[in-house]
Every structure is written in C-alpha cells, then in structure tokens.
Symmetry: C2
Subunit: 331 residues, 2 copies
C-alpha cells in the first residue's frame, strides 16, 4: 500500500486547506515523504488548529499560503492546477458554534460552497477529500454507528458540517467533480491543539498532565473510539487515490472502544504519573453532548482496504513524547 | 377540531414569514377566520411567491410588513411579542439554487439561524412551525418515505433546507424554544405561483392550460403525492397548537399517489379540455430530479390527528376555478 501511494502522489500537486493544523500538517509530512508538490492554506486564526511549528523540518518542502477559506478570491486562485485537494479547514469547536453560529456557518458552509464552485469553474478535474465528522450523527440511536445511521446533529457545528459534507457529495453527483467525505471520530496525535479543548478534550488533558496539573473528566462513562493521526492520514490518502471512493461517505473508527474514565486512567499510566478528577458536565456542554459513540467503519475497510494500525496505548505514548519535548510551542 | 383551533388562536399574535406567498396567505385567511392578530412578513422578491393580491379581501384584517428574512434587524423587532411564528419564507427553486447557491444559503440557512437567534434572545416563549420539504430526502431508496429515511439531498436547495430544518429542531432541544418542522410534499391550490415553475411545475401547467396552450410533462412516469393547500394549512395549525409536536419532524402526504402523466390527464379532464406534450427531461433538470416520491405520513396522522380531506380532482377543480377568474393577477 505505501508503495502504491508513492507512485500515485509523487510529483502531483496537492492543496491542503487547514494545512498548518493538526491533521493537515501530519498529512503534509506524509506527502513530503511521497514526493508530492504541496501547498498549505491556513488562516492561522489563533483559536483554531494552525501552528507554523507543525511544519518544522519540512518548511522548505512545502509552499505556505496564509489565507482564509472564506476568501473566495484567494481560493479561486489556489485550487487551479491542483491534482488533489484535501479540504480540512473548518471551525471545530462545538461550543463556539453555539455562541457564534454565523462564523461556523461562514466557514463550514459558505466557504465550502465557494471552494466547490471554484473547483467546478476552474479545475473540474480535481479530486477532493473532505474531512467530515461523526458529530453530524448526534446522539447515536444504535451502536456501533454505520453510515446508514440517521443524521441528527445536536449542535450548530454538526448541522453545518452535515451541509458542508453534502455539498461535496452533490458536486460529485451533479457536476462530475470527484469528491469523497470521511467522517472522522476523535483523532489524536502529535501536532493536535493542546492549548484548550477547542479541537478535542484530549488536547487539554495532555497539556495539564504534562504540566503536572490534574485534568478534568466530565462524567467519564461515555464510550468513544479514537483514531491515531497517522491512521487518519492513511485513510485520507487512500480516499484520494482510489476512484471507488468517489461520491462516497466513510466512517473512520479505531482499534478500541473505551470509556473516557478508562482513557484517563490509561493516559496517566502511559505517562507514568499524573492525576485527574471526575466531575459533572458543565450545563452548556451537557446539552450538546452526544453520549456514547463508536463507529462501524467496515465500509472503508472493505472498500479501500484501510486498517488502523496504532493501538491506543502506543498512540498516547507517542503523543505524550511529542508534547513533553514541544509543549512550549503549543501553549 | 376547528372549534379547538378557534379557541387556541383567537386573539393570539401570529407572525407569518412568506406571508404574502402561496401557503402563507392561505394560512392567513384561515387565521383571520379564527380571529388571530396577524402580521405578514414578505420581501415581495419578484421571483418568489409573494403577491399582494393573495390577501385580497383580508387586507384590513392583517398587518403587512415588507421586509426580507435576511434583514436581522427587522426580524428581531418583528418576532417580539408574537405567540406563534409560521416560518414559511424560503427560496424554493431547485434550479435557482444550483445557479446561485449563495442566495439559497443566505435565505434558507443564515436567515433561519438569525430568526432563531432573535427568538432565543427576545421571545423564547414563542412557538415556531417551520415549512420544510420532502426535497431533503433526495432520491428515495424505499417508498413510501417515512421520517426515518436517510436525508440524501440532490440539490443545493435540499441541503440548505435540511440545515434550516435542523436549526429549528436544535433550538427546540437545546434552548427550549418550541419548534416543529413539517416536510411538505407537492402542495397546490389557489394563490400558488403560476407564472413559471419556480414554486412547482403544477403552477406553469395550470397557467398554460388556462391560456389554451399545451403544457410540457417531463418524463411523466414519476409518481408523486399532492397536498391541497387547505389540508397543509390545517397541518400547520395543528402543529402550532399541539405541544406533542414540539421538537418533531413530520411528513405531509396526500390522499392519492399518481404519475405525472396521469396527473396531466386528470388536469385536462377536470378542465374540460386542453393538451400537453410528454418530453424528455432537460439535462440540467434531470440531474437533480428525485424520481418517484410519496410520503408515509402516518406519524402526523397518529400524533396530531391530521387527515387530508380534499381529493385531487376536487382540489384541481377549485384551483382551476380560482385561476380562471384571477389569472391576470398572477402572470
């Protein structure tokens, strides 16, 4: 599989929105190794995931373009001549989407429409991989959740990401652009945002643990699955490379399902120390919480041969090692 | 049931967005009879359904406010003090949504968010009934379509209406606003737009028939269901009146399922003359057509006791009679 990917991406022009962010920068690193020609677009909005340190060591192998996906003019220019677009830029905070629904709408809906319009008009041959989210399912009615589960989002972010995902599928179906969406679950690993919980609660856990402070687990009973970022990157590349993905929506899952309290214990154990407190949900969080979620990801395994390979304890160890070394660049 | 509705709506303050449009004006007429205090908001955008003639005879019983639901300031003022909001304003043309996706987004997504934000902040006790559409299901995978059918919209309008519907359900679930959505199928009757096919293909059929010109049936094999506007109005009122509707999504259907070619024959028969031609779909229509659709509407029948009462031949006869008299006011 890695050999195939090298032959597919070598010399190809790849645009990554959110390219200085967590998943975008890890993807860029893999694509550098595959000898692609890479342009990273990122707005570097402080509340989001972009961080120039994420491309430390590959600065000279990628082109960085600071702009916002809401900027139609820059995006119209940037999509031209690209073979692949990994469309990862987004507003990810559930709570922020409730406090400021319009910004979430502009980024997760309007900007997506305008990127697709630009591709349709100026580069209809491009292949697009869109980073969607399990958030659009809302509170699962059955577990594990497969792609036939109803979408019943519980926050503005989930609704807007649902629309953003469907614009991609629509443009694939109606205009013959090739597009595929991956519904990511909790993705974690080096280069994630750890300053706060805006990208994932695991970020702030890691930060506090490394700083020697107790972290907070809300409720703790919720069961979730986790994808190590390298496995998510492999899925993105497979979805880009394989025409059988065109027009499809795939869940990504992980190797294990674990309760958040058990995850907290595992994290402390892997860290060789630390502590956490279990407390009640804050009210504004509780009302948009989705409870238990874990994915049935057999469709992408069967269709694209994807297989997560990094167990949780190993992924957490690698992530802790990264932030023990680099935490000051992220806080 | 009508007695109950009178006791519920008499003296209550009711706001209708899209109030000069097809369904809005028919609803206003019923609410006048129920002695409600009615404000109609409409933008009177020429391409949409608003028409001042729609309130002929009730002009002195309603307050008309010309403004656009995208105008946050006017909407923030207008929702205050209202007991009920029938939120019917929308961009309805599937084809226009593909040609100009941003306008559809502004009306069907952003304006909906801003109406809900205004209600949340300034009138959280309001009850909202949202006019959603069967378009959000896309091409049905099973028939009849019930509310558990996956949403797989096939045009930008369907995606944006899906988001607009979910904002309403979300604000019900998270903020305690009371909101309900009705997924309307083909609704028809007096005061529909007949100038062109922007609201429904049946409009242009009626116009051409009355003008003595042949109308066009595309394909003709598609099976559909139809709701006479008086039945749709009853459903809207029941959804507003009944707390069991809060947070729910209901399909509306009709009494009969009929192919479009059979409908065309029935229309000519009811009219006592006229002709049509069956032709291929135009390409840009074909690619967003949903094929057969008819609703399973048992949920609203069981929950709210709704029951459509006007058979298709009777509804078509009433509609033809209306436009034979008033066509010049609509073209």
């Amino acid at each position: 599989m890695p050999d195939d990917l090298a032959s597919i991406f070598a010399g190809r022009r790849v645009l990554i929105t959110g390219g200085l962010g967590f998943i975008g920068s890890n993807l860029a690193r893999r694509l550098v190794a595959l000898d692609a020609e890479i342009t990273l677009v990122d707005s570097l909005i402080p509340q989001y995931g972009g961080n120039l340190f994420n491309i430390a060591g590959i600065e000279n192998r990628v082109r960085v373009n600071i702009s916002d996906v809401r900027d139609e003019h820059s995006m119209t220019y940037l999509v031209q001549g690209q073979d692949y677009l990994f469309n990862l830029a987004g507003q990810t905070s559930h709570l922020d989407s409730m406090r400021d629904p319009y910004t979430d709408l502009e980024i997760n809906c309007r900007a997506q429409l305008s990127i697709l319009e630009s591709c349709r008009k100026h580069n209809p041959g491009i292949k697009i991989v869109f980073a969607s989210t399990r958030q659009i399912y809302g509170k699962p009615q059955t577990l594990p959740v497969d792609e036939k589960h109803l979408l019943r989002p519980v926050d503005v972010n989930g609704i807007n990401k649902m629309a953003g995902e469907w614009y991609h599928i629509l443009y694939n179906n109606v205009y013959g652009l090739r597009a595929v969406a991956l519904r990511l679950t909790n993705t974690y690993g080096p280069r994630m945002r750890v300053k706060d919980a805006r990208q994932t609660f695991l970020g702030i856990w890691l930060r506090l643990l490394i700083e020697g402070r107790p972290f907070e687990v809300w409720d703790g009973g919720q069961r979730r699955d986790f994808t190590y970022v390298d496995d998510a990157v492999t899925a993105l590349l497979l979805a880009a490379a394989d025409p059988r993905a065109d027009g499809q929506v795939f869940n990504l899952g992980g190797l294990e399902v674990i309760s958040l309290e058990a995850l907290a214990r595992l994290l402390v154990e892997v860290n060789g120390g630390g502590s956490f407190v279990v407390r009640e949900f804050p009210a504004e969080r509780k009302r948009i919480d989705i409870g238990d979620y874990y994915a049935d990801d057999r469709l992408i395994r069967a269709t694209l041969g994807w297989q997560p390979s990094v167990p949780l304890c190993e992924g957490l160890a690698r992530t802790l090692a990264y932030y023990r070394e680099h935490l000051p660049r992220y806080v």
